[in-house]
C-alpha cells in the first residue's frame, strides 16, 4: 500500500517559475547575437543620432534638451525591440528545433513557460534601459529629476507589454528561418513611422496619417511626456487606452497563433 503515503502529486508552481525564468534569461543572454543587439543597439543609435546635438534645447525656448527627448525615444525603441525580436526569433527557433516536443511531455505548465519568458525579456529590456540611460547622462548630459527617471522607466517597461504579445504571435506564426526577417520587417518601419527616429513632421504625409494608429506612436507619447516633452499626440489617457487595446489585440493574436501551432503539432 505504498499509494497511501502522502506525497504531492504535482510540483509547486513558484520554484518552477524561478527555475524557468532563470533558464529563459540565460538562454537569451548567452546568445550574443541577441543580447548585444538588444542591450547595445538602442545606446548605439543614441550615440549616432542623439549625441551630436544632445545638449541643445528641443526647440527654441524649451527646457528639455534634444538628448533627453531622444533618450525617451530610444528607451521605448529598445524595450519593444527586446520583446518583438526576443520572443519572435527565440520562439520560432525553439519550435524549429522541436524543443516544444520535449516540453510538451513534461508536467511543465504553459503559463509558467510564458510568464518566465516574459520576465526574462523584461530583465533584458531593463538592462538595455540602464545602459542607454548611463550613456545619456554621462555623454549626453541628460538631466532628469528622480520622479522623471522613475516615470520614464515605468512607462517604458509597461509600454513593452503589448509587444510581448506581438512577439509571441510572430514567434508562433513565423518559421525559424523567416523569423528574423519578418520581425525586422515589421518592427523597424513602424519604429520610423511612429516618429522614434525622426520627428513625424519630417516624414511623408501618408506616414503622418498612419502614425496615430501605430502602437509605438502611442507609446512614444507616454515616454516623451515622462521627460517633460509632450507632443501634439492627444492626451495621456488616450495613449494609455490605445496601449491597453493593443495589448488585448496582440495577446489574442498570440493565443490564436499558439493554439494553431499546438493543434497542428500535437493532435
Amino acid at each position: 500500500m505504498r499509494a497511501a503515503v502522502a506525497r504531492p502529486v504535482t510540483a509547486p508552481i513558484w520554484p518552477a517559475l524561478v527555475h524557468q525564468t532563470y533558464a529563459e534569461f540565460v538562454k537569451l543572454f548567452r546568445v550574443p547575437a541577441f543580447s548585444v543587439t538588444s542591450i547595445v543597439l538602442p545606446a548605439m543609435f543614441y550615440a549616432f543620432i542623439g549625441l551630436g546635438q544632445a545638449k541643445e534645447p528641443l526647440y527654441r525656448g524649451s527646457t528639455v534638451t534634444f538628448g533627453e527627448y531622444f533618450l525617451a525615444s530610444m528607451a521605448l525603441y529598445g524595450v519593444a525591440n527586446v520583446m518583438v525580436l526576443g520572443f519572435g526569433i527565440s520562439i520560432a527557433n525553439e519550435r524549429g528545433q522541436k524543443q516544444d516536443l520535449l516540453m510538451q511531455s513534461t508536467p511543465l505548465r504553459p503559463i509558467v513557460f510564458f510568464v518566465a519568458k516574459t520576465l526574462s525579456a523584461l530583465a533584458i529590456a531593463f538592462m538595455a534601459l540602464v545602459v542607454l540611460s548611463l550613456l545619456a547622462v554621462v555623454a549626453g548630459g541628460a538631466h532628469l529629476s528622480a520622479a522623471q527617471w522613475l516615470t520614464l522607466f515605468l512607462r517604458a517597461m509597461v509600454c513593452s507589454l503589448p509587444f510581448v504579445g506581438l512577439g509571441f504571435a510572430l514567434g508562433y506564426l513565423a518559421g525559424p528561418n523567416s523569423a528574423p526577417a519578418v520581425t525586422n520587417l515589421i518592427y523597424l518601419p513602424t519604429a520610423f513611422a511612429s516618429g522614434l527616429f525622426f520627428p513625424l513632421r519630417l516624414l511623408p504625409q501618408f506616414l503622418q496619417n498612419i502614425a496615430p494608429y501605430l502602437p509605438l506612436y502611442r507609446g512614444a507619447q507616454l515616454v516623451w511626456d515622462a521627460v517633460g516633452a509632450p507632443t501634439e499626440g492627444g492626451s495621456i489617457a488616450t495613449a494609455w487606452l490605445y496601449m491597453g487595446a493593443y495589448a488585448v489585440v496582440f495577446f489574442l493574436l498570440a493565443l490564436w497563433a499558439y493554439r494553431r501551432d499546438q493543434s497542428r503539432k500535437f493532435n
Binding site: A3, H19, A23, K27, L102, S105, F266
Partner: protein, 298 residues
C-alpha cells in the same frame, strides 16, 4: 490494484491520408519492461505519443495511470526520451537538469540524475557542445530526474557508441529491477531481448505479436544450423534438403530448417565434411524478419 501504467483502448491514429495506427489495444502494467519492435513507420512512435498525450488518437482512448495523458498528475509520474526532440543549447547540463527537476513533485538530486546517465564529466558543459551520444545521455538524465514511476524511451540508444549503449542498457536494467515501468521502442533486437520481458511487435499500424521474447522466437518454428566446411562451400551440396533459408559466407554455412536431424543425416550421407556445428533455436532477429516481412516484396 492500481491503474495500468499505460493503456491504449481501440486506439487508431490517422495523419491525413496515412493510417499510422489501426485499432490498437494494449495494457502496460506497473513494473513491466516492454519493448516495442517494428520497422520504420510501423507505428511505434505513434503508439508512445498517444500514451504520452503528445498526440491525440483519431478514435479510441489513451490513458496514463488511469488518467488522461494530458493530466499533470499523470505526467508528473513519467520520464520520457523522444526521438528528435530538441533541448536549449545555451544551457549547461546541470542547469537544464535542475530546470527539469523543478517540474516534478519529488525529483532526484541533480548530481544523482547526471551520474545515473553517466554524464558527470560534462556537468558544466553547454548542451550545444555535447556529442550525439552524450546528448542521448542528457535526455536520459532529463527523463530520470523527476524520479518517475514509468519511463518511455523512444529509440533511446540511437547515436550511442558501443560502450555508451552498454552503460545505458545496464542502467535501464537496474531501473527495471527496482520495479520501474519501462516502455521502449527500438530497432535493435538484442536490446529488446536483453531488457524486456515482453515484446510487442508492431507492423503497418497493428500489433502482430505481444508476448515474451521466448514465445516470439518460438513463432519461427525450426532451428538455425551453422557449420564450417574445409573448402569454400558449394551450394549444390545442399540441393534438395528441407531448408527454409541458406546463407553461405565463404566456408561458413547458415541454415534454417524444421528438420535438423534429417538435414544432418543427408549431409553425412553425401560425404560433406563439416566442423564447428551449432544447432540453436531461431533468434529474435529471424523471428522478427519472418513476422514483418511476410508481405514485403523484397
Amino acid at each position: 490494484m492500481g491503474a495500468p501504467a499505460a493503456e491504449l483502448v481501440n486506439a487508431s491514429k490517422r495523419y491525413g491520408e496515412v493510417q499510422a495506427l489501426r485499432d490498437v489495444s494494449l495494457i502496460i502494467q506497473p513494473g513491466e519492461v516492454v519493448a516495442m519492435l517494428g520497422p520504420n513507420g510501423a507505428g511505434k512512435t505513434t503508439s508512445i505519443s498517444l500514451m504520452l498525450g503528445t498526440r491525440k488518437p483519431t478514435s479510441g482512448t489513451a490513458r496514463l495511470f488511469g488518467m488522461s495523458p494530458k493530466d499533470l498528475k499523470a505526467r508528473s509520474r513519467i520520464g520520457v526520451m523522444l526521438q528528435e526532440s530538441g533541448v536549449p543549447g545555451m544551457l549547461r547540463v546541470e542547469e537544464i537538469v535542475d530546470l527539469f527537476r523543478s517540474y516534478y513533485p519529488a525529483p532526484l538530486p541533480t548530481a544523482a540524475a547526471i551520474k545515473m546517465a553517466g554524464l558527470e564529466e560534462k556537468t558544466r558543459s553547454l548542451v550545444k557542445d555535447l556529442s550525439g551520444g552524450q546528448r542521448q545521455r542528457l535526455y536520459l538524465a532529463l527523463a530520470l530526474c523527476g524520479n518517475p514511476d514509468a519511463l518511455f524511451l523512444d529509440e533511446p540508444t540511437v547515436g550511442m557508441d558501443v560502450e555508451g549503449r552498454r552503460l545505458f542498457l545496464d542502467e535501464i536494467g537496474e531501473l527495471a529491477a527496482k520495479g520501474r515501468t519501462v516502455v521502449l521502442t527500438t530497432h535493435y533486437l538484442e536490446e529488446a531481448d536483453q531488457l524486456a520481458r515482453r515484446i510487442i511487435v508492431i507492423d503497418h499500424g497493428k500489433v502482430i505479436a505481444d508476448s515474451t521474447p521466448a514465445e516470439i522466437k518460438a513463432r519461427v518454428a525450426g532451428k538455425r544450423m551453422t557449420f564450417s566446411t574445409p573448402s569454400p562451400s558449394d551450394e549444390s551440396q545442399l540441393a534438395g534438403l528441407p531448408l527454409k533459408s541458406i546463407q553461405v559466407e565463404g566456408r561458413r554455412v547458415r541454415l534454417l530448417t524444421n528438420e535438423p536431424e534429417q538435414v544432418l543425416r543427408e549431409l553425412f550421407r553425401r560425404g560433406v565434411e563439416i566442423h564447428d556445428l551449432e544447432v540453436a533455436g531461431a533468434d529474435l532477429e529471424e523471428a522478427f524478419v519472418a513476422m514483418t516481412h511476410r508481405e514485403a516484396p523484397q
